[in-house]
């Protein structure tokens, strides 16, 4: 970059580099991604412990240093989404948290659909798939995984019933997710192998074997299980059409199927940094303000009718690089990204609150480490 060209100085006239600190241009390359008009440069993270050993700078992991510098700032937090800044952490860890949020945090989702009757136009398998994607409002930590040989019981399965019918002569109806009715006592469909009961008091065996009703458990007694949203369209029924089915939800993870992912999305971006390398005044300032589509720049009055451009909202910069296009604008404005400042956003699908999801994700990474430690020793 042009503006970083330093005047030629004989090497013995150079000032001594202070020990324990990197010279400014290296520090810039280490901590910032430089977004030039053709491509971003210095995108890599320098992690090797001895990378700056010749300059007397220790690049090794110092937990104390990490603890002093790591910060979290919550920007917004609602029931369903949150945005926070995570400052002073490496991209590999931020990315690990993101990956775990998407693929490795369990939730409950409909996995098996027993269809007794479906005369609607939507096919069984499509209907089952649509049901699977309905987010359920239930804490997955209260349930166990079901493996292949397990019988469905009250600890690993949630059963819903859906029975909807459009009468002849009436107009078409919508089947919405609020028609999924929770069956805390388990399946009501008797197994096909079951003989007609001789003794009317004994309950015939069904597709699940619940030992007790789920609503007798303290967690669910006044917190019934159901879909997170009541107005998700599942199917439409014409006159004379009917759907009767049972949906069995089990615990799973996003890496098996996206329906188990507890987040709609989880993503992060690095903090944009917009720096004015020179004073930009008068008409040029006006031009700069106009260039930016997201209004990063403002005009500031500096007295005597003179106007100067300032960077007012760098956070909203999308790094579209419009402001460094053409002429020699890149000598006036520098666009960078801060490598260790992550603007992290989590959108929950509703099973757990976003802040709980993040804490659980960090716990999962801890568990992974623990597993490796125990297996190596």
């Amino acid at each position: 970059m042009e503006e970083q060209k330093t005047p030629k100085i004989p090497v013995w006239d150079l000032p001594d580099v202070p020990k324990g600190k990197l010279p400014p241009h290296l520090e810039l390359q280490r901590t910032r991604v430089l977004c030039t008009s053709d491509a971003p440069t210095h995108t890599e993270n320098i992690r090797y412990s001895g990378a700056y050993a010749s300059m007397g700078v220790d690049n090794s992991l110092r937990l104390g240093h990490f603890r002093d510098n790591f910060r979290v700032e919550v920007i917004t937090l609602t029931e369903d989404d949150m945005e926070f800044d995570m400052i002073g952490i490496d991209a590999s860890l931020a990315n690990a948290f993101r990956r775990i949020l998407i693929a490795e945090l369990p939730t409950m989702a409909i996995e098996k659909v027993l269809i007794a009757n479906n005369t609607s136009v939507i096919q069984d398998e499509v209907l089952a798939h649509r049901l699977g994607l309905v987010p359920l409002k239930v804490d997955p930590r209260l349930f166990e995984y079901m493996s292949e040989n397990d019988v469905p019981n009250e600890k690993n399965t949630i059963v819903f019933k859906l029975h909807s019918r459009c009468e002849r002569g009436s107009s078409r109806i919508k089947v919405l997710s609020n028609e999924l009715q929770w069956l805390p006592r388990g399946s009501e469909f008797t197994l096909s192998t079951e003989k007609p009961a001789v003794d009317p008091t004994s309950r015939p065996r069904t597709y699940t074997s619940f030992n007790c009703s789920q609503d007798s458990l303290p967690e669910f007694s006044n917190n019934p299980i159901g879909p997170k949203h009541d107005d998700i369209m599942i199917a439409k029924l014409g006159p004379g059409q009917e759907i009767e089915l049972e949906a069995h939800a089990v615990k799973g993870m996003g890496k098996t199927h996206a329906k188990w992912s507890p987040v709609a999305t989880a993503w992060y971006r690095m903090l944009p940094e917009v720096v004015l390398l020179q004073e930009i005044e008068g008409e040029k300032a006006e031009e700069l303000v106009k260039k930016c589509p997201v209004k990063v720049f403002d005009i500031e009055d500096i007295g005597k009718g003179r106007k100067r451009a300032t960077v007012a909202r760098p956070r909203s910069c999308t790094l579209c690089r419009e402001c460094i296009r053409g002429d020699d604008w890149d000598k006036h404005v520098a666009l960078r990204r801060v490598k260790d400042h992550f603007i992290f956003t989590i959108e929950s699908t509703g099973a757990l609150h976003p802040e709980v999801l993040f804490t659980e994700a960090v716990k999962i990474l801890e568990d992974k480490c623990e597993r490796v430690i125990t297996e190596l020793s």
């Binding site: 992690r47 090797y48 412990s49 001895g50 090794s60 992991l61 937990l63 990490f66 790591f70 910060r71 979290v72 919550v74 937090l77 609602t78 029931e79 952490i89 490496d90 590999s92 860890l93 990315n95 690990a96 990956r99 775990i100 693929a103 490795e104 996995e111 098996k112 659909v113 027993l114 269809i115 007794a116 069984d124 398998e125 995984y145 493996s147 292949e148 469909f189 008797t190 096909s192 597709y207 089990v250 799973g252 098996t256 199927h257 609150h353 802040e355 993040f358 804490t359 960090v362 990474l365 801890e366 992974k368 480490c369 623990e370 597993r371 490796v372 430690i373 297996e375 190596l376 020793s377």
Partner: protein, 153 residues
Amino acid sequence: MLSCKSRVVKLSRFVLGIDCEEVRRAQDAGPRLTRRRRHYRPATGNSVMELGSYQDQSQATFSLTDEDHTLANSLRFTLNQDPRVTFCGYSIPHPSDARVNIRVQTTGDPASEVLKDSCQDLMLICQHVRSTFDQAVVEFKNKKGPDAMNIEP
């Protein structure tokens, strides 16, 4: 020195199994069973394999099953920041095999010890992230007032 024998790649987890026999049986009488899938559950059991030599313990490849970039890249980060490590890297030999190989070469210490220390460091980092995050959330909730965000107590 390092031998990675080829292994039979087990694909079963990634196959969405529909048990036709069962579907038919269920169809014959009453409700139709639409699908059946093997459930993934977190791995248990011995699944870290060390490939190295007894003569020189300072270099080894660790083969971790049921792990991916999530753990391997984080471990590469902490390993690289350890001054005892001269080289480390990881690879996923085949995308349909849930396995990752982590290569560690050290200045002399046993590679497994160094890897263990790195795991320990990563755990400490995670614990700090978690406590800082929880604290920030609590501060935010106190500042905004709990009902402003309809967050359950």
